[in-house]
């Protein structure tokens, strides 16, 4: 379902190398489109803004500012490729972030606090997965319950923000490995590592291929003898774990835990994943595409900050881009279906 799209049929009808390439990699087209848009955004910003947009420090800041989104987008990609959705990520990020800050403030050592909060995130994911798989609850509703639960738990931990004094956490943000104008922080390295691991798991492990198979056609996957139940639960656990990791990154980034963090972030993450070329119907998508989607989102944000324009434009532009991408995807899917018939 993912990449196997009638190759012999196309090879005879499509004479040019370009059309053969696009037909063969139809599933990748939305991701290529996202890369094109990202390059266009960069070029446009360079040309029409102050002309100093593409600098090492700007691009580095892009990764730094969006590291937490990137981490969540990787987990979300797994869920969406199985055809599910996880609305809870923003709340789980807030909950794990404030919990970490609270544990540290109470004198717990970092070596204990970080694993505890990550397991907390994974457990909320497990709850969603079990509801979806074993109780036939729709992913939307199951993760909605987790959204409420985690948001409330964040406020149970603390009603106000808690400052983090722990040097190990602050180190993650303040350390900069420099190469000329470019720099990267440990949080950035962590985010890129998550992307790398995510891409590897998706493409080169049995579990990853099962994720695609489940998203392509759950019934067929089951008949093939794949372990659908375990896969569907695991993707939510992964997403919850990633949201927990995002909580760690964001707490390091802002130097504090705050229970109001990440309200509406789940939508930003879903938008970034969709812009990156993942089909919400499942079966198609790439972790690296989601990374491009996050960068498109981050670049739009940066440009709007540069222009000093109203923040409301970010939401409108992201909404319009989202629309553009779903229409493009719709056309691609429709063409693929026509070819099958």
């Amino acid at each position: 379902m993912t990449t196997i799209i009638d190759i012999p049929d196309v090879a005879t009808t499509g004479p040019g190398a370009v059309s053969r390439f696009t037909a063969r990699h139809a599933a990748m087209m939305p991701t290529f489109a996202a890369i094109a848009i990202l390059l266009l955004l960069f070029a446009g910003a360079e040309a029409f803004l102050r002309g100093d947009f593409i600098t090492g420090s700007n691009i580095s800041a892009l990764l730094l500012d969006n590291a937490y989104l990137l981490v969540m987008a990787v987990g979300m990609t797994f869920v969406i490729v199985t055809g599910g959705i996880d609305l809870a990520v923003g709340s789980v990020m807030a909950f794990t972030g404030i919990w970490l800050a609270k544990l540290l403030a109470d004198g717990t050592s970092v070596a204990v606090a970080i694993p505890v909060m990550l397991i907390g995130g994974a457990l909320i994911g497990l709850l969603v997965g079990v509801l979806v798989q074993y109780f036939n609850v729709q992913p939307f509703i199951a993760s909605l319950a987790a959204l409420f639960l985690a948001r409330g738990l964040a406020f149970v931990v603390s009603l106000s923000s808690i400052k983090v004094e722990e040097p190990a956490i602050l180190w993650m943000q303040s350390t900069r490995f420099k190469l000329g104008d470019w720099y990267i922080t440990p949080t950035g390295i962590l985010a890129l590592a998550v992307v790398g691991i995510g891409a590897f798991v998706m493409h080169s492990t049995r579990f990853g291929r099962t994720v695609y198979a489940v998203g392509g056609n759950e019934q067929s996957a089951r008949l093939m003898g794949l372990n659908v139940a375990r896969t569907k639960v695991l993707v939510y656990v992964i997403s919850g774990f990633c949201a927990g990791l995002a909580g760690l990154v964001l707490t390091a980034y802002s130097g504090a835990g705050y229970p109001r963090n990440g309200i509406g972030t789940e939508l930003d993450v879903i938008a970034a994943v969709v812009i990156g070329g993942t089909l919400l119907t499942g079966g198609r998508g790439y972790v690296l595409g989601s990374m491009v989607g996050v960068f498109v989102y981050g670049t739009i944000n940066t440009i709007i900050n540069f222009k000093g324009a109203d923040q409301s434009w970010t939401r409108i532009i992201v909404g319009v881009l989202l629309l553009l991408f779903i229409v493009v995807q719709r056309v691609i899917v429709a063409r693929a279906e026509r070819r099958h018939n």
Binding site: F140, L149, R151, L280, D310, S312, V320
Partner: protein, 348 residues
Amino acid sequence: MKAIVNHRLFWPATALVVLVAINAIAQPRFLAITMRDGKLYGALIDILRQSAPLMLVALGMTIVIATRGIDLSVGAIMAVSGAVALTIIDSSGSPDAVATVGIAVIVAVLVAMVLGLWNGFLVSVLGIQPIIATLVLMLAGRGVALLITGGKITTVNSAPLKYLASGYVLILPVAFFIWVAAVAIVSAIERRTALGVLTESVGINPEASRLAGVRSRGIIWGAYIASGILAGAAGILAASDIRAADANAAGLWIELYAILAVVLGGTSLMGGKFSIAGTVIGVLFVTTLESTVVFLGIPPAQKPVFFGAAVIVVVLLQAPRVHEWGRKVGSTFRKQPTDSKTEVEVAA
């Protein structure tokens, strides 16, 4: 007895009664209703009044869900319609004139209708998945609302507007009559004509109903338009309640509460059969749960824990696996020769 238990509104109604009972036991004054100047006051009356915006939104959501869709943009539509209405009133010379408010309400609802039209176009004509199609407006809508209000919170002092949210007709609040009227109109259109049946057929199997001659495109489109109009009206009510248009906070999370209310009322998210009475009970349950939290003195910020727990309990009660467990437990009881036969029947 069995017929009552098996009625599909039995469990939602029981949940509502239990919730009210918990409140009444925890705080006896919860049930108190007092009469002052010919108007009724009390916690229960407040619930009837405060339900209005959610009730309107949930009504639209019921119809959309019945067509196997979902409308995530209702909160954003509320923000836009509130912003439009209050900006018109704010910029007019006579904010206290009934005509000004009337024009503002009509324009705001028309704008909301256009937004619903747009959602319906994406879903029914372009064939985009409802979650994503409405996600576009959910993201962009608040941005539009912020542009309309110029990024600030527009506040107005207008007597007719205030009347909508906190005024009284006879002895009960206006807002209560507004939602009752909306429920009556929607039920009449859906249940006194064939539209309701056609909506259900589209939700159960769009392809089969199209082949059977049902114009599914128009029905789906209409559902989103209805949802838009109702969300627009809810936006005006919400804005008049606080006499301000707050583009960021108006209708925040209401789509989630509305979906919750619809599901609690027994309408399946898979589309098809829907129950307007169930939605009414679901909305009253959600609003009561909300005021319960306040009543029990729990910090409002921690409220979501209760909603999360409530959603989990309710979806578990609806899950086939849990029903199976219930039957198993019931049959093990039945094997033992006990005289508590009636209890067994209830458990089964």
